[in-house]
């Protein structure tokens, strides 16, 4: 039983959330296991972002519970590496890629002035993991959207998280860049749990192992068993809209 308990990285039970009496999430139950590649899909305003904010501890829990590695939620990024949406803002900012990455270091391990040698070495190591070590000293604004997103992933990996949570990671990135990001996530997924918020079903389904459709309520799907039913590998023949409706209606 002990090992089974350890496999559960996130456990959400009976979670509801309302903004000013308007219910956004209703009775959400979800178990995320170690090394899952989970995707949150659903319409805009369906509650995906709200759920992310609850998991990160930005929004207070009103009803229900969220446990991370069996522990109640704490407001910090110690367990979860987070890649926010809209990493294309502030591109004029004079900052090097490696400086952005080092923002991901734990505050209490920091040097009093400047950066420790170990911090720089570790930042270079995570930049290597995302294939961006050659760009460490480039200004962040001079990188392409896809490269910048890799730097943001490196920042999230800096605290050695067991879970990586990405909010719409490929929204301002060209098709090639998107594919590279997902290939990178698949590689990272060999060691850690990956959760992606996305509305782009066609790309995500090639990489995800689990799907949670969120529209106030959550319906959960294990893609491995779904694939047997619908032969998703041959996904050119499936209409995306129908698939989305199906994922929203029923749970597997």
């Amino acid at each position: 039983m002990q090992t089974k308990f350890n496999l559960r990285v996130i456990e959400i039970a009976g979670l509801s959330f309302a903004y000013d009496k308007e219910l956004v999430l209703e009775n959400i139950n979800l178990i995320v296991n170690h090394k899952d590649f989970l995707v949150f899909i659903g319409p805009n305003g369906g509650g995906k972002s709200t759920l992310v904010k609850l998991i990160l501890g930005i929004n207070p829990i009103q009803k229900g519970s969220i446990k991370i590695f069996g522990e109640p939620l704490q407001k910090s990024l110690t367990q979860i590496g987070y890649v926010p949406q809209n990493t294309n803002v502030n591109t004029n900012f004079p900052i090097k890629a490696i400086e952005v990455v080092m923002m991901g270091h734990h505050a209490h391990k920091r040097a009093i002035v400047g950066y420790k040698k170990e911090e720089i070495a570790h930042a270079m190591h995570v930049l290597e993991q995302v294939g961006m070590e050659k760009f460490a000293h480039k200004k962040i604004g001079s990188l392409s959207g896809g490269q910048r997103q890799r730097v943001m992933i490196a920042r999230a990996l800096c605290s050695n998280p067991k879970i990586l949570l990405l909010d719409e990671p490929t929204s301002n990135i060209d098709a090639d860049g998107q594919k590279q990001i997902y290939e990178l996530l698949r590689e990272l997924n060999k060691k850690i749990t990956v959760i992606v918020v996305s509305h782009d079903l066609s790309v995500v389904l090639q990489y995800a192992t689990k799907v949670a459709h969120i529209n106030k309520k959550l319906s959960f799907h294990d893609l491995e068993s779904l694939q047997k039913e619908f032969d998703l590998s041959n996904n050119a023949h499936i209409c995306e809209v129908e698939l989305l409706q199906m994922l929203g209606k029923r749970s597997c």
């Binding site: 990024l77 926010p84 502030n90 900052i95 090097k96 952005v100 923002m103 505050a107 002035v113």
Partner: protein, 266 residues
């Protein structure tokens, strides 16, 4: 020209010009990357209220301006943190009301004979020892804050949402930046006047931002560029008997134009 350097008021003006330029380089960089230029403009103009209160109540104008500017910065911080919508409107309101308070209080002061223009356009040649001590102290405080909290301030400025998630007190550092901006505005008023402060806080910074890949490099380049502009402007002002603040700003603007042309051509 060289014999001018032997006058104490010229020496004071040069030291003040360099100190204020370095401070404006550091704080101006923070103001620009945090997109607070309008906020800083609001504090600069509202500071006139402090001048009015000091003249009316009869205490040190420097003290009055400092207190009023810091209080204005705190109000601005409170408003921008609590009331994310309509920020522009509130800043405009504080900007105008601060100035109006100053003007009315000066009107109400009997036998008023202080040179108003010196606050609007600066009076660097009237800088005294006390002003220099205050400028030196502020420079030291700012260098100290930037040395020990550089990473937090960098995080908050670059990505405040992420900074908050990683446990940095974003509101504290935001308020700190605004208070330091207010103090910077107060000493810059001496050099270029409250109307022209915003130029000293943006022109050298724009040049530096274009060629820097780090925030601290931007701060150093801004400070050095501002120093060169200030000393050149001061020299022109002395040689041709022109208003010092306006000379400094026009030198900066001319340098910016040359910089932009060279930058385009390359």
């Amino acid at each position: 020209m060289l014999e001018a350097l032997s006058y104490e008021f010229i020496q004071n003006a040069i030291i003040a010009g360099i100190l204020v330029s370095l401070v404006c380089g550091i704080i101006g960089s923070l103001i620009v990357v945090n997109r607070m230029v309008f906020l800083a403009g609001g504090i600069a103009h509202a500071a006139y209220g402090g001048i009015g209160i000091a003249i009316f109540a009869g205490f040190s104008i420097f003290l009055g301006t400092t207190l009023f500017a810091v209080v204005t910065a705190l109000i601005m911080a409170f408003v921008t943190i609590k009331q994310r919508e309509n920020i522009d409107t509130f800043i405009g309101l504080i900007w105008a009301v601060g100035m109006a308070i100053g003007i009315i209080l000066v009107d109400l002061t009997p036998g008023y004979n202080v040179d108003l223009m010196s606050y609007l356009f600066g009076s660097i040649l009237a800088v005294n020892r006390e002003d220099l001590y205050f400028m030196g102290a502020l420079f030291t405080i700012i260098v100290f804050v930037m040395t020990f909290w550089y990473r937090d301030i960098l995080s908050v400025s670059y990505d405040s949402e992420y900074a908050a998630l990683s446990g940095i007190n974003v509101n504290f550092f935001y308020t700190l930046i605004l208070i330091l901006s207010a103090l910077t505005v107060v000493i810059a008023i001496k050099v270029v006047g409250l109307i022209l402060v915003i130029a000293l806080l943006t022109i050298p910074i724009y040049i530096a931002q274009t060629i820097s890949s780090s925030l601290y490099v931007m701060m150093i380049i801004s400070g050095l560029a501002a120093s060169v502009f200030t000393i050149t402007g001061l020299w022109l002002s002395y040689s041709f008997d022109l208003t010092s603040g306006a000379s400094i700003i026009l030198v900066s603007a001319a340098a910016l134009t040359v910089f932009m042309i060279i930058h385009r051509l390359r």
